[in-house]
Symmetry: C2
Subunit: 242 residues, 2 copies
C-alpha cells in the first residue's frame, strides 16, 4: 500500500527536511509520528523537495509504503511547526520525488524601512530602495532552459546543471515582493542565489544584462551572495493529471 | 512636543499592553526603548486600544510628550515581537486614546480539519463544521447602537455598556474566516465573547434570533464562552481627518 502526505512546516527551528544525526529535522519528526501510529520500527518517507535548514514549506509532498492515516491523529503527535494537511491512499508505486513534474517556490522580500512582526522569519527584510522594474526584468529572462551553474555552490553533488524554468515572476503587493518560480527541479541554493543576484541588480550593483549572461553556465563566483533561507518556501509540487 | 507612534506586535509572549509589575508587557518594552534614546527616566505612553494578554496588534497607535524618533533606531532596541511602523510629530496635545474616534479589530478563525503552521497562534483553529451564513447573519445584526452587557465580564470597571458599532462583517476566504468590526470603543473581552457566541450559533447550539436578543443588555451568563485571545488583533485606529 502506498500513501501520500501533504504537509506544511515552518523551517525556522529545523536543520532542513533530511534526517541528520543529532539534528532536529522534519523527516525525523514525521517518520516518528508515523511509526507510533503504525506501530512500526521504521516508515521511510520519500520527499518531493528536500528543503535546507530554515526553508519553509506550504505544500510539501511525501510518500511511504503503508496505509493512509487520519491527518488529525498524526497532527496530535507532531510539534506546532509541522502540520499534515492531507493524507490519502496513492496509486501503487507512487513516488513523491520521482513522479513530481514540477516544484514551485516562493521567496518573500519585505521592502520597507520598518521591520515587520508578522513576517519576522517568513520574509527577508530588505530596507534599501530598489528598482522593482529591474527585478521583474530579471525574472522575465528566467523562463526556458538555462545552465544554472552560477546559482549553486561550486562544490556540488549535482551532475547536470540545466533546469527547465516553466514560469518565474515577481508579484508585488505594496511593500511585499514575492518571487514565484516553477521549474522541473532545482539545484541546491538555486532560488536563494537567484534572489540574491536579482536584489543586487535591483540595488544598482549590476545590470539586468549581466544577470542574464549568468544563465549561460557562468561560474558561481560571478553571481551574488545567497539570500537567507528564511525568505524561501516550497509552495507546491506538481504531478501529472491522472 | 507631542509625538505619535504606530506599532505592530505579536501578543503571544506579552501579558497585554498595560504595564504590570513582574510581567512582560508591550508598554514596558516600548517605554524602555524611548527612555534609552531620549535619555529620560520615564516617557509615559498613552495608547489607543489597551489589548489583553495574547491579543495582537497590526496598527496600534500611542502618543507621548517628547520629540519624534527614527523608527529604525527604536526597532533596533525592541524585541522581534514588537515593531514601530511609523513615528511622527503630532499636533500639540494629541492624545492617542482620547482623540481616537474608532477602533477596528479582526478575529481570525481557521475552519478546517487540519491545523495550520503558518496561522498557529494567529488564528483560532475551529475544526467543526459550521454554518457560515449564520455567522454573517449575526454580524449583520451588530451595526448600530446596542447594550453589550452580555459580552463583557460581570465584574467590570465599565460604567456604560452601550457601544456604537460602525460596521461588522465576516470576510470569508476559503477556510479562513475573518470577523472585522469597527466601533467607537470596545469593552473588555467584548470581541472575544461576540465571536464565541457567533461560533455557538454557527455550530447549531443557539439561533441567530437568540444572539440578536442578547444585544439588548442581557446578562453575561446568557452569552457563550469567550473565544481565545490569540485569534484577535487590533487592526487599526481611526482619528478625525484634519
Amino acid at each position: 500500500m502506498t500513501s501520500r502526505l501533504d504537509l506544511e512546516y515552518d523551517g525556522t527551528a529545523f536543520a532542513g527536511w533530511a534526517r541528520q544525526p543529532g539534528q532536529r529535522t522534519v523527516q525525523e519528526e514525521v517518520e516518528k509520528a508515523l511509526c507510533i501510529v503504525l506501530r512500526e520500527e521504521a516508515v521511510p518517507l520519500t520527499v518531493a523537495g528536500r528543503t535546507d535548514a530554515g526553508v519553509h514549506a506550504w505544500g510539501q509532498v511525501c510518500s511511504y509504503e503503508h496505509e493512509a492515516l487520519d491527518p488529525m491523529r498524526l497532527n496530535s503527535l507532531l510539534p506546532d511547526d509541522v502540520a499534515i494537511l492531507d493524507s490519502n491512499p496513492a496509486p501503487a508505486g507512487f513516488d513523491a520525488r520521482r513522479d513530481a513534474i514540477s516544484r514551485t517556490y516562493c521567496y518573500r522580500v519585505l521592502n520597507r524601512r520598518a521591520r515587520s512582526v508578522g513576517l519576522h522569519g517568513r520574509a527577508l527584510w530588505y530596507h534599501r530602495r530598489i528598482d522593482r522594474g529591474a527585478l521583474q526584468a530579471c525574472a522575465q529572462a528566467l523562463a526556458g532552459t538555462h545552465d544554472f551553474t552560477a546559482f549553486t555552490p561550486t562544490e556540488t553533488y549535482h551532475t547536470r546543471f540545466e533546469r527547465d524554468v516553466l514560469s518565474a515572476q515577481w508579484r508585488i503587493d505594496g511593500d511585499l515582493l514575492e518571487f514565484w518560480i516553477t521549474a522541473d527541479s532545482f539545484m541546491r541554493h538555486m532560488n536563494r542565489v537567484l534572489v540574491g543576484t536579482m536584489l543586487d541588480v535591483a540595488a544598482g550593483n549590476r545590470t539586468v544584462a549581466e544577470f542574464v549572461a549568468l544563465l549561460a553556465g557562468r561560474p558561481r563566483p560571478e553571481a551574488a551572495a545567497t539570500a537567507p533561507a528564511h525568505g524561501l518556501a516550497l509552495a507546491s509540487v506538481g504531478y501529472p493529471e491522472r
